[in-house]
């Protein structure tokens, strides 16, 4: 399937990226090439291969339910672009 600018526009919206017209064209080309490359996988015969649900060979990795210390609040908020003494501050979340 050929990648269209419409699809790239849609994906950039989901990723909250604002692309200019030039960028949109560039991304359509570049992403298109990536997809073509991945399409090579379609050439492999997977008739008798069970679908893979997870790439890791591990299973049942658990931790015990025991509380460990959290980070001090000052450290937690240290990287926030905007904050007050207790919370992160973000542009208003519209009440809905």
């Amino acid at each position: 399937m050929a990648l269209t600018p419409e699809i790239v526009k849609q994906v950039s919206l989901l990723a909250r990226l604002q692309l200019s017209a030039d960028e949109l064209e560039l991304m359509t080309q570049q992403l298109g090439r990536v997809l073509e490359y991945i399409d090579k996988l379609a050439e492999v015969d997977t008739e008798n291969v069970a679908p893979l649900a997870h790439a890791v060979e591990l299973s049942n990795v658990f931790a015990d339910d025991q509380v460990a210390p959290s980070l001090p609040r000052e450290e937690v908020l240290a990287n926030a672009p905007k904050r007050d003494d207790a919370c992160y501050r973000v542009p208003a979340v519209l009440g809905d």
Binding site: N60, A63, D65, Q66, V67, A68, A86, C87, A92
Partner: protein, 496 residues
Amino acid sequence: MITQPEETTAAYQTVVGLEVHVQLLTQSKLFCRCSTKFGAPPNTQTCPVCTGMPGALPVMNREAFRLSLKTAIALDLHIPQFTKWDRKNYFYPDSPRGYQISQFDLPLSEHGFLHISDPQGAFPPKKIRILRAHLEDDAGKSLHDEAAGKADSRIDLNRAGTPLLEIVSEPDMRSAQEARAYLTELKLLLTYLGVSDCNMQEGSLRVDANVNIHMQVDGEKIATPIVEIKNLNSFRAVERAVVYEAQRQYELWRETGKKLGDAPKQTRGWDDQAQLTRAQRHKEESSDYRYFPDPDLAPVLTSAEEVEKLKAAMIQRPAELRSRLQTDYALDAHDADVIVNQGRLFVDYFIAVAEKSGSGKLAGNWIQQSVLRYLNEQEIGIGEFDISAAALAEMIDLIQSGELASSRAKDVFAEMLNAKTTAPEAMKTLGIEAVDDSTLVTLCQSLLDDNPRIVADVQGGKQQAVGALIGQAKKKNPNANPSEVRKICLRLIDAM
């Protein structure tokens, strides 16, 4: 043709499916070891994992998984051998990772059911199918800084990463009452299991309702577009929102004729103040969550043996206890329902009293009429009740043996509570003792001697005239058993 507005209640069938999120009773979060304790100062229970720092590695909480399986078994859900976690991608300020860790195509359990019924008979007992129950993590909380009048929201991430079990029903409920009954029974079951405290005020139990209506119009089956209702803060709100929304959809359909498929699924919020649902701001393309398997989390395999083991360890569920109380202790369906709905501790109390006194019926009566009333008045639970099961059983024994007249038992019960004492002690304080027959006969004879008119009335066929003597007898001897006095008086008059 379409029915008239006055007949709207019969004009359509309400169809409801419920999504319930319950917070599991773990000490630490689902993927990190931060505390889940409610009410801590903002952002004091977070770490690199639950704030979504790059490179942080989530590890599944063993207890959260165990509680999920326990719940799944209690809801007769099938537990597949393989389950995994997926990323549900969306941007929102209270979700620091930019995705929620949830389960998409391979949830830890699916296809179960819950039986509901109504003791008042508002609807016949029915089985509500449950589509699935899966484990996911919670988001943080937005605090709206209205006082400051600023355009900012404040974010507290203490709750981010708390384990939630999402239980999704099939659209099997056909009224607001059935929806409420489902929620009530589900909550009761979850508290019996001890998997959640189900505290709605603290957000430990949250409900979203999917509602539409079905109609028969000119022999054609018509359904309206499905609406998901959010912001449901109580079971009562669920009931009212369902009723409101069904009627709103009916009126909208009459106006526009829009059917299921003509419009996408809409999300509306319940406004409890105004008692109506409002369209929520349409989050553009928000339904495109682009799920994919979370590469940081290992899948979980559960063997059939493990499932069998958990099944064997399953406690008696409320539905099973209701029938057990009926068969083992001769309670009727209503009484069994009342007792079981009070919770497991209350049931244990009842069973202890019934076993020790040997009378399920008397135990049931006393516990419902006196104990439960007292608990409700005092707004306390059975755990804080001062009369032990053994002490109540002893009192019931005294009633059964005739040493304590039923007519005085209520006073004894009150005195036991008042003085925190046993039934025999309370009886001593109240001066209650069994009156032997000869004392009663002497008492009755003196009453008859004093009241020739009453004797004449009774002889003339007015048996009820003897009632006046009972009051007098009680005055002379408070321990005189009214029914005994009555019997003896009639016998003595008969023999005159």
